[in-house]
């Protein structure tokens, strides 16, 4: 079901944590709210669920205005970071609890529970208690409880962050498949940009209560709307070097990069991704830098260099071999570089 947030705000006294959030989530869409902890993304999700009151603005789910409707009438399902399994109920009772509340007939309830459990491969664990399950299995119970009553919207609050790295990867894939299969609109909150990039149809990046950009993952990666988004997405993060624009090039402390079409500017943040640049000899490079440290990760080497005050990270192949404090040159692929206003952090276009 379509979910619309229209200029939603949340304040606690004088503290405003969500500052005018506008989102239009299409039916069946998987939208990921991404941001650092405390940026207001969880609050936004809880407002959609109805656990927090909406200070200002309106919320539509489907055709209905849900701004002030109690959570239980919103027909949303939520998966919590802690899974929120009821420790005194079996897996089957946990999954069936929402249906029991709706006074579903027993036979129907049982078949629905079994169907939901089968979807997440839990059919053999129905009589266990939550404490007898592994972290991944608990996660599945929480998912099964969410899907058992076919809600209008799935809400997920960092559901994978309590799992270890390996399991998280596997669950991610499963979650994506499950959502596609069920076709239920999903709002997913995370601080993990990899989760956001892999799961989302669209990613909404938030910072300090303000929505920075909403776009498909590839678009977010290639064309970040703000310096914050640019730094937040990608690992290692996009390099940002302070410089100035004039005469078709960006001048930084130790060199310059030719960049056509930009209006002259006193100070800009010049950004380029680690894979969009390469190390050359100090004499021939566009910029001159000093090697700060090198980290070999197996398939590649992450080289951190210093340009004046700024650190720049470059991806090199695994055979790269240079010592710290040696001088190098850095070449940048001009069409992949992005410029941001130094003060506002907003993207500067040609």
């Amino acid at each position: 079901m379509r979910v619309q947030l229209k200029d939603i705000r949340k304040s606690y006294g004088s503290l405003e944590v969500v500052k005018g959030l506008n989102l239009d989530i299409a039916e069946g869409e998987f939208l990921v709210l991404l941001g650092e902890s405390g940026c207001g993304k969880s609050t936004a999700l809880r407002m959609i669920a109805g656990l927090e009151t909406i200070t200002e603005g309106s919320l539509m789910i489907g055709e209905r205005n849900m701004t002030e409707v109690l959570p239980k009438y919103r027909n949303v399902a939520m998966v919590f970071q802690s899974y929120a399994l009821y420790p005194h109920m079996t897996v089957a009772e946990n999954i069936g609890y929402p249906l029991k509340l709706q006074k579903t007939p027993k036979a129907e309830l049982q078949s629905a529970v079994l169907a939901a459990a089968t979807k997440v491969h839990l059919e053999d664990y129905l009589e266990r208690m939550p404490r007898q399950l592994s972290g991944g299995q608990r996660q599945r119970v929480a998912l099964a409880r969410a899907i058992v009553r076919t809600p209008s919207v799935f809400l997920m609050d960092e559901p994978l962050s309590n799992l270890d790295a390996k399991l998280r990867g596997a669950m991610r894939a499963e979650l994506k498949r499950l959502q596609a299969e069920l076709g239920i609109t999903t709002v997913y909150v995370t601080h993990d940009q990899i989760e956001a990039m892999t799961l989302a149809h669209r990613v909404a990046v938030m910072d300090a209560g303000v929505l920075q950009q909403v776009a498909p993952p590839k678009e977010i990666y290639d064309n970040p709307a703000t310096r914050f988004v640019a730094r937040f997405i990608g690992s290692p993060a996009m390099n940002i070097v302070t410089g100035s624009v004039a005469d078709g090039r960006v001048t930084v402390e130790e060199g310059a990069v030719p960049l056509e079409g930009y209006a002259p500017r006193e100070r800009v943040s010049f950004g380029f991704r680690p894979e969009d640049c390469s190390l050359v000899s100090p004499e021939s490079g566009m910029m001159k830098a000093r090697v700060f440290s090198t980290e070999m990760t197996g398939n590649e080497t992450i080289v951190t260099c210093e340009i004046g005050q700024d650190h720049v990270v470059v991806r090199e192949d695994k055979d790269f071999d240079m010592k710290p404090d040696e001088w190098v040159g850095i070449d940048v692929v001009p069409e992949k570089a992005r410029l941001f206003d130094y003060d506002s952090g907003k993207r500067v276009h040609t």
Binding site: G62, E63, R64, N65, T67, Y73
Partner: protein, 382 residues
């Protein structure tokens, strides 16, 4: 903002909220949950408190078909503090000797120093000043009363209550802490000790009173041979004021050490192990470990349980009433027992006045303890 609902409901739309009785009750749960408790407390605590205040200002008389209350102002209090019942509440006074003067002057000096610290400490405020003035005046008054009656005079029920409260709670705390520290070490059978030491807390105070009467019997009790050996076979502890009070205190201590012990032991067990081990590796001795690590981490708990005990100890009645019947004379009477005896003699006004005296003394003491001592232990915790 008023909720605006569009009435068009699509096929997948959930059922619209139903507004019926169940819904109304659900909305009112906040009130429904807390209201019974509040009403009960208003009826059984606040309302009686107000009525009691009025009773303490009246003279109660039984008349045909009921009773009659006549307003007499502060006469009941006057009688207790300055009149015919002074000996009962406050005691009989004795002139100060050099020892009494020395102690009294020391306490005054301590209070003055405390105020001086408060004025120069930079955290001055009016509420703090008023609170300190009330606490200090009670402290000075009680000190004077204790000095005037305990050494030479004859203490009344107020001083006896203070004896039970402060000496009792102090002794209970020290024994409880000592046992908890011993039991908190790496020893076997800790759980068995915990269970056994816990038992006295469950025993009816009335039962304890009889138990200790039996045990303290000089001729037929289990310690009879010991008394005889000391040549005390004919001595009667019940006839001497201080031994009678002491027996009450012992009974009370027997009952309440477990409370201190159990909570302090739990606090000690909850202490972070790594701090202890780090201190041991650094070569700290037993006393240093207690002072620098154990005590700071259990002090907030200690303050809380002492406060709880102070609150409860002021209410003592069962033990003195059954163990000694308040006697010899009025020697072991606590304030609550005093109030009960007044009630039994149809002196409802006097009874309420004693009750109110107890209320003031215990409330000011407990609040002072909480504000000036309890809070401090929490600050060191952070």
């Amino acid at each position: 903002m008023a909720p605006t609902r569009t009435d068009r409901i699509g096929e997948l739309d959930p059922a619209p909220p139903k507004f019926g009785l169940a819904e109304w009750i659900d909305q009112q749960t906040g009130k429904l949950f807390v209201l019974p408790a509040v009403i009960i407390l208003l009826t059984f605590a606040i309302f009686p408190l107000l009525v009691s205040a009025y009773l303490s200002l009246t003279k109660f008389k039984l008349v045909a078909g009921g009773f009659d209350l006549r307003y007499v102002g502060l006469r009941n209090f006057k009688k207790l503090f300055f009149g015919s019942q002074q000996y009962h509440l406050l005691g009989t006074f004795d002139a100060f000797g050099p020892f009494e003067w020395a102690v009294f002057v020391t306490v005054i000096a301590a209070v003055v120093f405390w105020f001086w610290r408060f004025f120069t400490g930079g955290a001055f405020n009016v509420a703090g000043l008023v609170g300190r003035l009330i606490s200090a005046s009670l402290l000075v008054a009680l000190t004077w009363l204790i000095l005037a009656t305990v050494f030479g005079g004859y203490p009344g029920s107020l001083v006896v209550t203070l004896f039970y409260v402060f000496v009792g709670v102090g002794v209970q705390f020290c024994i409880g802490l000592g046992l908890a520290l011993l039991c908190g070490q790496a020893i076997r059978g800790r759980n068995a000790f915990r269970i056994i030491f816990f038992i006295p807390l469950m025993v009816t105070p009335v039962g304890i009173a009889y138990m200790f009467r039996m045990l303290a019997d000089m001729q037929r009790g289990p310690l009879a041979y010991v008394w005889q050996w000391f040549g005390l076979g004919e001595f009667s502890w019940a006839a001497d004021p201080w031994t009678a009070r002491l027996v009450v205190l012992i009974g009370d201590t027997w009952q309440w050490v477990p409370f201190m012990f159990i909570v302090l032991l739990a606090a000690i067990e909850n202490m972070p192990r790594d701090q202890l081990e780090a201190a041991k590796i650094d070569g700290a001795g037993g006393w240093q470990i207690f002072r620098d690590i154990t005590w700071p981490s259990i002090a907030p708990v200690a303050a809380t349980i002492v406060l709880i005990r102070l609150i409860e100890a002021f209410k003592i009645i069962d033990l003195p009433n059954v163990l000694t019947n308040g006697g010899p004379g009025i020697a072991t009477e606590s304030l609550t027992l005093h109030s009960f005896i007044a009630w039994r003699t149809q002196d409802l006004g006097g009874s309420a006045a004693v009750g109110y005296t107890l209320l003031f003394v215990s409330t000011i003491t407990c609040v002072s303890f909480f504000n000036f001592i309890g809070q401090r232990t929490r600050k060191t915790e952070a």
